[in-house]
């Protein structure tokens, strides 16, 4: 029954999406309101259908309905309820169902927005074109789950029990958070793509287009950022190698669109302020969407091996065709509409915010290309030369560290530069204190014995950029305090809320700097060692002493575990007891470890149980110390807060009438004309 309902809902969703797409395009061509109304209703209908399919799959999983093929694949009666619920995205078909649900939810949001936008400007074809494009993307994903990746196939006779979700998913509750966050970011990039295609099809960019598309990009960008940090955290907490990033193809697949989307968020500001870089900006957002499709293809078709990759499946060719259509279609559109994308402004001076943005964009694009080349090279080499190669991690580090360092530098310098034309005198004033602080920190660290040049450079640049950001806040707060007589904190809050986008952006930059420091420190000063320790014996590890007390086995409903007890001391005083363990799942050939760690902001001590003797007299334990690794998660939190601050709707004072807004725009244009 569940299988029938689920499959019927996906098929109906597919039909509605196809109908809605056609209706939206007809509405855009003819301007007839009833077609557009039909398309909007179809869009909401798609969301309803996919939501029903999703809920049906959850019901089938929870009630252990093994007549549904996907439940037979990932379900088991022994799995606890929580893991049963999240097992929906533990294999290929279910993950595409989650994908389709998020896409349909974004479609419903776009419908809601388009109703308002259309009421404001009924004749504007951009809105229906954008909705039509997004519905086409829906068609593709619904096609996948209705046919080659259908999770609702009927099994007759139904088996009595299944194997349960894959062991890595069951090993940490964090799998309930990381994939949905990442998907919400990843899938959401389809919306700005659709808005861009809508504008190109309509042949013009409205003046409010950059603002609009920026907001629609910032939402998925925030989720993607949090998803990437959450994924690193999961990798660190679960995989037992003490690292958080391995340049694995799937990690790269999530990182590449993040890079291009970040570049886009910056270049669209230049477009908004100065009317420049239009073609480049549109290319970036189209490229971001292409990279999400490419990433899905790489990780879901089985062409690349990785921890995350699912089994070989038949959906590869579908993705290749879709990728080809999107790529060719976008390029054709860009070429066809190049006249609408002509630049209105020009560069006035080498030393200006615009230049900083352009350099930032080049760096992000280069970064994305470095990652893309490293990820695709094994495929290319095998196709062209027939050799099996892999690209080593050092390639990614060597290439990305210089780019990342320049970006850390720009994170502070960019905001300090004024638009149009900066002057050295102004910069000298702004740079003084951050420069002194950075120099002071650099000397202090060098004296304290930090010898790694790249790490030292990262710390110094991060302090410099951080100082510049603080200066931006401090100067504005000081001016406001003098003007209004308010206290420091109210003035700071007033400044920050007066321009949420700007100051939210600076908070995000601060988070990125904190992450950069965490990465540099934990990658450079990490130490690790492993020993086989007899029971009761103590092993020295740097400042720590680790005593192996005992090892025992436990039965749990869905798995067995072997737990080692250790006592960790620091210079003779007992700090804590840690219990690294190995878990044996019926679905996994090898045991999956759960490392134990003592974490704080200064450094993490991380213990992994590697092996033990059958009599319990010896355990092999690996210990890792990573300084400042906690800063990465802290920085991720700051990035999320900053983005939320920027997205938070500004308090509506007096909504400017169109006439008043026109006056303001005219005044600004006039000021700019005089300035020129």
């Amino acid at each position: 029954m569940n299988a029938v309902i689920g499959h019927a809902a996906t098929l109906l969703g597919l039909l509605l999406a196809a109908f809605g797409a056609v209706a939206a395009f007809v509405a855009a061509r003819t301007g007839e309101a009833r077609y557009f109304a039909g398309a909007r209703r179809a869009g909401l209908g798609v969301f309803a259908c996919v939501a029903i399919a999703f809920a049906t799959m959850e019901r089938a999983l929870i009630t252990h309905d093994f007549s549904v093929s996907y439940v037979e694949q990932v379900g088991s009666r022994a799995t606890p309820l929580f893991y049963t619920i999240i097992s929906l995205w533990s294999a290929l078909e279910g993950s595409i169902l989650l994908w389709a649900l998020i896409l349909a939810a974004y479609t419903a949001l776009l419908v809601r927005w388009s109703t308002r936008a259309n009421a404001a400007q009924p004749a504007d074809p951009q809105v229906p074109y954008a909705l039509g494009t997004l519905l086409c993307v829906n068609v593709f994903f619904l096609l996948l789950i209705s046919w080659p990746a259908n999770p609702f196939r009927v099994l007759n006779p139904a088996p009595l029990d299944g194997p349960g979700p894959n062991a890595l998913l069951q090993n940490s509750p964090f799998m309930g958070v990381h994939p949905p966050l990442l998907y919400t970011g990843y899938v959401g990039m389809a919306v700005p793509f659709s808005l861009a295609v809508g504008a190109l099809l309509a042949g013009r960019l409205n003046p409010d287009w950059p603002r609009l598309i920026r907001r629609w990009t910032l939402v998925p960008w925030t989720f993607l950022s949090l998803g990437i940090v959450a994924g690193s955290w999961w990798s660190y907490e679960v995989l037992g190698w003490g690292g958080y990033w391995a340049w694995d193809p799937v990690e790269n697949a999530s990182f590449m669109p993040w890079l291009t989307a970040t570049a886009f968020l910056h270049s669209v500001m230049v477009q908004e302020r100065r009317g420049m870089l239009k073609t480049w900006t549109i290319t970036l957002i189209v490229g971001t969407f292409l990279l999400t499709v490419l990433g899905t293809f790489l990780t879901r078709s089985g062409v690349l091996a990785s921890v995350h990759a699912f089994t070989q499946s038949a959906i590869g060719p579908f993705f290749l065709v879709f990728l080809g259509i999107v790529l060719l279609g976008s390029l054709t559109l860009l070429a066809w509409r190049s006249d609408a994308l002509r630049s209105e402004g020009r560069f006035d001076a080498a030393l200006s915010r615009e230049t900083a943005f352009v350099v930032n964009n080049l760096l992000f694009a280069a970064f994305a290309f470095v990652v893309l080349l490293g990820t695709m090279f094994p495929l290319l080499a095998e196709a062209v030369r027939g050799v099996k190669v892999s690209v080593g991690g050092p390639y990614f580090s060597e290439m990305s560290v210089p780019i990342a360092l320049l970006l850390v530098f720009l994170a502070g310098v960019g905001p300090a530069l004024p638009w149009r034309q900066g002057s050295l005198a102004l910069l000298r004033g702004k740079f003084r204190w951050p420069f002194v602080a950075a120099l002071g920190v650099g000397v202090a660290l060098a004296v304290a014995g930090v010898r790694a040049p790249l790490a030292l450079l990262t710390f110094v640049l991060a302090v410099f950029s951080g100082g510049l950001l603080v200066t931006e806040f401090a100067e504005a707060t000081g001016a406001r305090r003098r003007a209004t007589g308010a206290g420091t904190l109210p003035a700071l809050w007033g400044v920050a809320t007066s321009n949420r986008r700007r100051y939210g952006g600076y908070i995000v930059h601060t988070g990125i700097l904190v992450i950069a420091v965490g990465i540099a420190a934990s990658a450079t000063f990490r130490r690790e060692d492993e020993w086989t320790i007899p029971r009761g014996a103590t092993q020295d590890f740097g400042r720590y002493q680790i005593r192996f007390d005992s090892v025992w086995a436990v039965h749990e409903a869905r798995r067995d575990g072997v737990v080692a007890a250790t006592t960790v001391s620091l210079q003779g005083t007992v700090l804590t007891r840690l219990y690294p363990r190995l878990n044996y799942y019926p679905t996994a050939m090898e045991p999956i470890g759960t490392p134990a760690l003592r974490a704080n902001m200064r450094e993490d001590l991380y213990l992994v149980l590697l092996a033990y003797t059958q009599d319990g007299e010896h355990a092999t334990i690996k210990a890792i110390v990573s300084p400042l690794v906690g800063w990465i998660w802290l920085g991720g939190g700051i990035v999320g807060l900053g983005a939320l601050f920027a997205l938070w709707p500004a308090r509506k004072r007096d909504p400017p009438t169109p006439a008043a807004a026109a006056v303001v725009t005219r005044e600004r244009r006039a000021r700019e004309a005089v300035g020129r």
Partner: protein, 151 residues
């Protein structure tokens, strides 16, 4: 970036930057490529393969595994379908599933002493999430630890 006239300069500048970037990329990729070889392919390369980071894949030959608990060093021979074998020395504890007759991939360098020094040993099982084959009972290994706790 001054008005007019600077366009040619800009194009040349961009071209130079692109060329330098491409050169760095090419070098970066070239120095970090890890080839995947079988024992036969590695032996055929002979001395030219010394020192380069490669991945070597094969079957762990029966009766050749020796674990030195003191030095945390594992020695074994990898064999392929053409009966060529390579001696491997790997540091660190092997994965729990490591055993004679299993497929393994080692990453490391081939040295003139005729030993492959590996820093990364991976046991090959065609799919990460496949259940153990019938007969394989990882639970056997820790059964004694249950009993211990009960007593």
């Amino acid at each position: 970036m001054r008005r007019g006239g600077g366009k040619a300069g800009l194009v040349i500048g961009a071209a130079v930057v692109l060329l330098v970037f491409a050169y760095l990329l090419w070098g970066g990729i070239g120095n970090n490529l890890v080839y995947f070889l079988t024992p036969t392919e590695l032996l055929a390369k002979g001395a030219s393969a010394y020192g380069a980071n490669v991945r070597l894949g094969g079957i762990v030959e029966g009766g050749t595994v020796h674990w030195d608990a003191q030095r945390h060093e594992l020695r074994f021979r990898l064999i392929d379908g053409d009966d060529h074998t390579v001696e491997v020395v790997s540091t660190g504890v092997p994965p729990q599933m490591f055993s004679e007759g299993i497929g393994a991939v080692v990453e490391g360098v081939w040295t003139p002493e005729g030993v492959f020094r590996s820093h990364n040993l991976m046991v090959k099982h065609s799919n990460e999430y496949r259940a153990p084959p019938p007969g394989a009972k990882p639970a056997e290994y820790y059964r004694q630890l249950f009993r211990k706790q009960q007593s």
